[in-house]
Each structure stands twice: as structure tokens, then as C-alpha cells.
Amino acid sequence: MGVGIDVENLNAWYGSTHTLQDISLNIPANHATALIGPSGCGKSTFVRCLNRMHETNPIARATGIVKMGDVDIYQDANPVEIRRRVGMVFQRPNPFPTMSIYDNVASGLKLNGFRNRAILDETVERSLRAAALWDEVKDDLKKKSGASLSGGQQQRMCIARALAVDPEVLLMDEPASALDPVSTSKIEDLIFELKRQYTIVIVTHNMQQAARVAENTGFFLNGKMVEFDSTHKIFTNPKDKRTEDYITGRFG
């Protein structure tokens, strides 16, 4: 099951650039939450703070409280432990090119020293089914390299890879922006299915996408969160003038 995330006064820097300023919001468990905003507004930085990926860049820094359930991920845990609980899907599919499809999906488990063959097989199948890829790849799981799949298939394989470690939260940083409309709609259907079991945070440039998949939506602008509300309200009756301007396409 998913777990909720409470963010309080999150600040983040790249070098001397203050990329995120005092972000506070509650991400409910087992829902999809969308983050929208123009390029460079800090929404990607925000999700990267949720699994402490932000700090892997040597010039990056973050402060604040991020509570995942009862755990403050910046105080009570180290990044490795957090990332075992929080899956992440990146903007561009990043299959491991030297591994077969099977090994790609199983990589998270193998990495953590998991060796039980039967459970590995079962997990790979379950994850690929959940990512709606099983029927397309089941015949050459171990024959084909993960990089030989099409872009849309690669991205679904990356989702399967993230699901295989049974995370509580799934972060998706513009998961469909490099994909064609057919693959995009497959991934959106997938998000719809997955949010029953996982808490999903999705960054997107595509406002229709946010409207289709997410219960809640946050609008980011210049490193600040302008508005956070139910998706319905954000898209029909936003409180802030800037949100309205953005969703009606007047800027961004």
C-alpha cells in the first residue's frame, strides 16, 4: 500500500540558485498528484527531493521536512533506504543497455541481494503485467536487451523495474513527454491502475494529462508553489490569477 507524504518548508538550491522556496503540501496516500508549471519552475527538483535524488548532484542542497508516513526522510533515514521505498520513473526511458528485459526488471531486487529464483520470476511477470508490457515481451524476456525495445515499451519496462521493488510511492518525472500519443495513453491508463496500490506523484507539461490522471494538482511557478488543490478546482475555478493564466495558455 502507498503512504502519504507531508512536505513542510522545503527549500532547495543548485549552487547559489534558490530553486525551491518554502514548499509545503500534503500528498495523500493512494492518489495521483500532478505537478504542473512552465519549464524551470522547480517541479522536477521537487520530486527529486522526495527520494533524495536531488542531492546526488554535488552542488545541490535541500532543507526542510519531508515526512513519508512517520519517517522524516531527511532526518531519520539515509538516501539508500528512502530510495528502496520510493520508485522513480524518469523523463527519458533509461533501460540498462547491457541487461536483458528480465534482468532490467529484476535489477532492483538483484541489487539488494535477492536470489530466490521462483520469487524473482514471479515478480518480473507481475511487474511487467502491471506495466502492461508482459504480452509484448514474454517470449523474449531473456533473449532481448532492454534497449532493443521501442521508446514506449522501454518506458513501461522502466515502470515495471520501479514496481518490482514494491515501492510505497512512485515518482514520475514527465514519464510520457518523450513518447508518442499511443504510448502516452497506455502510460496514463497504467497510472490510473497503479494509484490503487501506490501513491503517485507525476510531473507533467501536459495539462490534459494532469486532468486525466490526478485527483490533486499543484501549480509551480519560479520555484514557488502558487496553488495546490483538487484537480477539478485547479482546472475549473483556480483561486490564483497566475494559475488561471497558465492553464488557459496565456503564458508558459
Partner: protein, 353 residues
């Protein structure tokens, strides 16, 4: 406006007012008196360059073929000049270890053995060190230290091999004889690798100095290969909950493995042919070494040492055949290494994107 048929074919979304361009490209090109822009005039005045392209590719082809020509020419000269020895000893030349200029009895095996043994031992020492340096530089090193360490590593590659030889002779050999040797015999004597009398001038000293010499090549190429692995691969592994070491193993080394093997092959190539420094410390004794403390001899060393004093046609011819042996050893080792890469990576392209 152009005719409706053309208009539909050119612009199927004509009904969409914002999608329709002001003037279609067809219309602009139709009028014979339509003025041409300066850019268009310039581009139209240029030739297609077909002749130049053909000439260029012919020249490039010749450059590429010249590599084959050079290799074949060297091979031809080596065979032609060693005819005497080839006809006298036949294939056995490569499998016999006799080397007696006085009675005119020659065989290359002890030199082949010495060359292979020193080179492989050198790899054994240098590869872990070089990969350690490369991993440290790309993944762990503070930004400020990166440039100085890289610079010093590359400086090592620029030192002439005679200088390495002198250093080995005056520093490494005494250490090997008086300090390191006795310790190795005491603790690892049971392996029989460190037995026998130890003058310091031996296989191990030669291998160590070779290792130092090939270290910078391997580490700087491996570093460049690792730097070329995209960040997305590293982040992909980290996002699965990998520790830093697991990320390096799965995200970096695994993706860079073909390039790393290539770096090792280049290092091996240098080790096989390295002459001066090895000649100064290996002891130059044409016999198959019984332990790492025994003196040995390599193919390159024997040519360097004896070529100027070779008396008699057979002696000279045998030395040239040693050169042929070195040439063949290098080729065979390279082929084996490439075959190894091919076998490991078959069906799994190493291209990260």
C-alpha cells in the same frame, strides 16, 4: 491563390484558419519573374561537389588501405630477413628454449614466455589499480582534486621508458632484493612463486615497472569511458535503492565494460612491446624462469641487447625471427582479447544512450 486541388494536397488543414500559411511554397516558386533572394542565388550557383566528394573518399580509402600495406610490408620483411633461421629451425624455433649463439642453436620459447609472463603479471597489478584510479576520479573524487590527479596520471605516461628503467634499477631493484623479497619468500614461499635466490633483477621487478608504465594508459582511457556513461544510467540505478558501490558496479562499470577491455588491450599492447625499462631490470637470462625471483628475458629485450653484436648470418636471422615472434604474439594476444569481448557481450549491445 493556387488552385483548390493543389491547395488541399499541400495543406490538408486548410479549414483551420491558424494552420493555413499565407502563401504556400508552391506559389512562390511558380512565377518565373519572382525575385530570388541572395541566399538562394548563392546556393544555386554552387556545384553539387560530386567530383570533390569522390576524390575525397578515394583519398580516405587509400589512407585506410595504407594501414594494411604497412602491416603486410613489415610481415614480409620480417619473414624475408629471417629466412635462414626459418629454414634451419622450422616451426620448432617457437617451441624450443635453447639460445646458444656460440654453437648456433636458437629457439624463442624462453623469450615468448618472458614476454607473456611479464605482460600478464603487469596487467594483474595495473588493472585493479588503474580501474581504482578511474573510479575514484569519475565517481568519488572532490571536484577540486580531479584535475590535478588526472594531470599527474597523464604525466606518468609521458615519462620516457629509460627514465623508468633507471628508477627501477636504483630504487625498485634494491627494495625488491632487500626488503620486499624476503618478506614475500617468508609469507608466500609456500606458493613456490617466490623461491630461489633473489638478486632483485627478476621477473617480478620487470612486471612491476611495466605495471607502472601501463597504469596511466589504462586509467585515463577507462576514466574517459566512464565519464561517457550517461547520468541517466547512474540515476536509474540509484533510484532503485543502490548504494554508491552498487551504482558504480551496475551503472558505470557494467556499461563501460567494453571500453574498459579496450583500454586493457591497449595497455597490454604497450607491455608486450616495451623494451628499455624491462631490459634494465629483468636480468636478461635466456631460460624459463622457475619463480618470480628468477631472472628472465623478453623478446624485445633480446633484440635490443644482442642485435648490435650479432655475429654470423644465422644469429642475425634468428634475432629477426624473434621480431617475427613478437609480432605474432601481439597479434594472437589481441585476437584472443577481442574474441573474449565478443563472447562476453554477444547479444547485449553495450551502447548506453
Amino acid at each position: 491563390m493556387s488552385s483548390p486541388i493543389i491547395s488541399v494536397a499541400q495543406n490538408p488543414r486548410q479549414t483551420d484558419p491558424s494552420g493555413a500559411p499565407q502563401g504556400s511554397p508552391v506559389q512562390q516558386d511558380v512565377g518565373p519573374e519572382a525575385p530570388k533572394s541572395a541566399v538562394r542565388q548563392f546556393l544555386m550557383s554552387r556545384s553539387s561537389g560530386k567530383a570533390a566528394d569522390t576524390t575525397f573518399s578515394a583519398i580516405m580509402l587509400m589512407c585506410a588501405l595504407s594501414i594494411f600495406a604497412i602491416v603486410l610490408f613489415i610481415l614480409f620483411i620480417l619473414i624475408a630477413r629471417s629466412k635462414l633461421s626459418l629454414s634451419q629451425f622450422g616451426f620448432k624455433f617457437f617451441t624450443r628454449s635453447a639460445w646458444d649463439p656460440v654453437s648456433g642453436d636458437f629457439g624463442a620459447f624462453s623469450f615468448i614466455y618472458g614476454t607473456l609472463a611479464t605482460s600478464l603479471l603487469a596487467l594483474l597489478v595495473a588493472v585493479p589499480l588503474a580501474l581504482g584510479v578511474a573510479v575514484f576520479l569519475t565517481e568519488l573524487c572532490p571536484q577540486k582534486l580531479r584535475a590535478p590527479i588526472s594531470f599527474v596520471t597523464e604525466l606518468l605516461a609521458a615519462i620516457p621508458s629509460i627514465v623508468y628503467g633507471l628508477w627501477a634499477l636504483f630504487v625498485l631493484v634494491p627494495i625488491m632484493r632487500d626488503q620486499l623479497g624476503p618478506v614475500l619468500t617468508k609469507y608466500f614461499g609456500w606458493t613456490h612463486l617466490f623461491n630461489g635466490y633473489n638478486f632483485g633483477l627478476n621477473l617480478l621487478s620487470a612486471s612491476i615497472i611495466l605495471a607502472v608504465m601501463i597504469l596511466p594508459i589504462i586509467s585515463s582511457i577507462a576514466r574517459d569511458i566512464m565519464l561517457a556513461v550517461p547520468i541517466s544510467q547512474r540515476e536509474g540505478v540509484l533510484a532503485l535503492g543502490a548504494t554508491r558501490w552498487e551504482m558504480i558496479r551496475m551503472g558505470v562499470l557494467r556499461n563501460a565494460r567494453i571500453g574498459i577491455v579496450g583500454a586493457i588491450i591497449l595497455g597490454l599492447g604497450r607491455a608486450l612491446g616495451e623494451t628499455m625499462a624491462v631490459t634494465m631490470v629483468i636480468g636478461n637470462h635466456p631460460e624459463i624462469p622457475k619463480s618470480l625471483f628468477s631472472p628472465g628475458y623478453t623478446l624485445a629485450s633480446v633484440i635490443a641487447n644482442e642485435f648490435s653484436e650479432a655475429t654470423g648470418d644465422v644469429y642475425l636471422s634468428a634475432l629477426i625471427e624473434i621480431g617475427l615472434a613478437l609480432f605474432l604474439v601481439t597479434i594472437v594476444v589481441n585476437v584472443i582479447a577481442r574474441a573474449l569481448v565478443w563472447a562476453v557481450t554477444r547479444g547485449a549491445p553495450a551502447r548506453a544512450h
